[in-house]
Symmetry: C2
Subunit: 296 residues, 2 copies
């Protein structure tokens, strides 16, 4: 990974992980609920979405501090989605990132409610943000952006399509729909929120939206390829597990060569959109290379 | 019930029930998800929260149309909370209002996601409302108000406290905490949102907040009393079911006479706050009487 990008991601991850619990500590709420919310917020991960928001701000030459509340709100939405996905009624996962999942510790009822609380609180956090002198218009655009990205037309819609597509062969169109919405939309809303906070004009904001959509797909296609080719120790799950689970993937639909050609095509498109934006492209350019070329 | 109030509630209920599905029909989302969301939105109920929002607007002499989006958003949040409450992991209810609960029809996974989607979409609806020329400031205040009322410090917090208090004797303070948050906060946010939309000043808005808190408690104490004394056919559940379920209630903690004295005390306080507000009090006054004096 590019050295400047590596340092940026590492530093912002620290800032985000330090900030995240502070919002919850001051809440007047039952201790069990706060503990359960904090447990999953602390569970780690790459903090890609908030980092992308802050990277966008940085690339516009703005202080990242201005986006910290919104970045954390988006990470809370991501966290809620993982808690609900792991439930017995959904993927029924006992472990995530080497730790028991939320419902294994707190029970299904509290896990559902902790997810609900994280989702709901994220909107309170955006609406009440006093960072960076955001105007009410900006905050409202961000609320609308994030809500659409995580609601029925976004993440939740993608999740339902994913459940409905289980155990049958998907078309490429169906697979792309699922990825666009299940994972791409929230990631896109992070980058677009960064643009809104930076005060980018509509043209730049829409170019970044298109860039982010390509980046999201790039992520997913690369994940599918790594699942077949990667080193189990590096990617953190057994190689070939998608194949064993009878899951439709890009390599299974396009063949390995076809999937790799898609990587190149989406990387090229992502960069085309990125280069049109009136900002310093270096960080997001390096990020795009990292997503396409990583080995885990 | 007062005739003017009866006519108002009946008319607004029709308006709300006609409007609610229109938001979902135009969504680009998987059909199963939309169906599941619509199923529970159609399931009826008294539509008390949206009606109170519209009644508040009306009492300030404003057109109710201006609050219709926000009223429907709050009803969606109420609906999501019922879907999640009914899940096997929570209350495990098979029936609600004479119809199978959401998860009995669509399965637990889709029911969880339909709840998530209704909650998330409600914020999109408020942020994007074009009714009544709401300013971004007003919409943002409403987002913050509703999010706080339904999040960890509000409804979800009350629900966790309720779960934790099951099968043990609660103190009056604990019982009041649960009711304030589990049911009172969202009802309060409806009335406060009405005040914000009407452009009420801070003083009136805060008086209405205090009024609404009293009204919410009044509702709950009366429900507890009706559970002991009411006519099973009228209240729609077996009389005494709270007692059989070993649930802490106002009559069980204060005795029946004590609970009835609480009704009078909270009714008096509610009206004291209400009469301070610069509005036509008639509708909300009649509503308060209805809540305190109803027989089902």
């Amino acid at each position: 990974m590019d050295k400047q990008l590596h340092e940026f991601l590492q530093k912002q991850r620290e800032v985000i992980e330090q900030k995240l619990p502070t919002y919850l500590e001051r809440l007047q709420a039952p201790e069990t609920l706060k503990e359960s919310m904090l447990y999953s917020l602390h569970a780690g991960g790459k903090r890609i979405r908030p980092a992308l928001l802050l990277a966008t701000l940085h690339s516009f030459g703005k202080p990242t501090e201005a986006g910290l509340d919104v970045a954390c709100a988006i990470e809370m939405i991501h966290t809620y989605s993982l808690i609900h996905d792991d439930l017995p009624a959904m993927d029924d996962d006992d472990m995530r990132r080497g730790k028991p999942t939320n419902h294994k510790i707190y029970g299904d009822a509290v896990a559902i409610l902790a997810g609900d609380a994280l989702l709901t609180f994220s909107f309170e956090l955006v609406a009440g943000s006093e960072k960076g002198e955001l105007t009410p218009e900006q905050k409202l655009r961000i609320v609308a952006e994030i809500a659409k990205a995580s609601g029925p037309e976004g993440m939740v819609g993608g999740q339902v399509a994913d459940i409905e597509g289980e155990n049958r062969q998907l078309t490429l169109e169906e697979l792309t729909y699922i990825h666009h919405h299940k994972t791409g939309d929230l990631l896109t809303s992070a980058i677009v929120s960064g643009a809104i906070i930076a005060g980018a004009d509509r043209e730049d904001t829409e170019c970044l939206r298109l860039f982010a959509k390509e980046l999201g797909l790039l992520f997913q296609i690369k994940d599918d390829i790594l699942d077949v080719e990667g080193d189990a120790a590096m990617i953190g799950k057994p190689v070939g597990s998608d194949h064993d689970n009878n899951k439709s993937t890009y390599p299974s639909l396009l063949g390995m060569d076809g999937a790799k050609r898609e990587i190149e095509a989406h990387k090229r498109k992502a960069k085309e959109y990125l280069y049109k934006v009136k900002m310093d492209h270096k960080l997001l350019d390096a990020f795009t290379d990292y997503v396409a070329d990583r080995d885990h």
